[in-house]
Symmetry: C2
Subunit: 102 residues, 2 copies
Amino acid sequence: MKKLSFQEIEQALAQLPAWELDSARGAISRRYTFADFSQAFAFMTRIALYAEKHDHHPEWSNVYNKVDVTLTTHDAGGLTQRDVDFARHADGVAQAGGGERG
Amino acid sequence: MKKLSFQEIEQALAQLPAWELDSARGAISRRYTFADFSQAFAFMTRIALYAEKHDHHPEWSNVYNKVDVTLTTHDAGGLTQRDVDFARHADGVAQAGGGERG
């Protein structure tokens, strides 16, 4: 899996407006805010299954109804298509769950 | 739920050797290390159920096989017996799961 070029990253992020790029690190991050802890952890559970299935795991943290997710591909030393696919999937899960507030 | 005194905190931490006190903040933290992500998230799932049941939620983060947990009681502005009980429970879950490495 090769690192995305700066242009490829820009194109991908245009479709992922909630995600912020840390270009020094080669990582993208965003915060999900849910109605409560139960909704937040339901989201985390679905993301955990995706992560395990694809053998691609997030750096993430949770405080009550908030989940902060950071994605990078350690083996590639930066962002790859796997991170973009992960971010799209996570956004879809958050929307489908119905508990996302912003 | 009232804040624990410094003496009460010292006594509680004597039974929780892996936990570190942030006395300025009134919080305790520790890292759990598991065999892999699956074990780490299984632990997180059990802790999430406990948190929801007791309406007392951790600040926590996960990177692959590592789970960092911080406990404090926001309503009390520091540590209470609920945090001590939570920490004991979490240590027990980690040991019972069998996946903890250290």
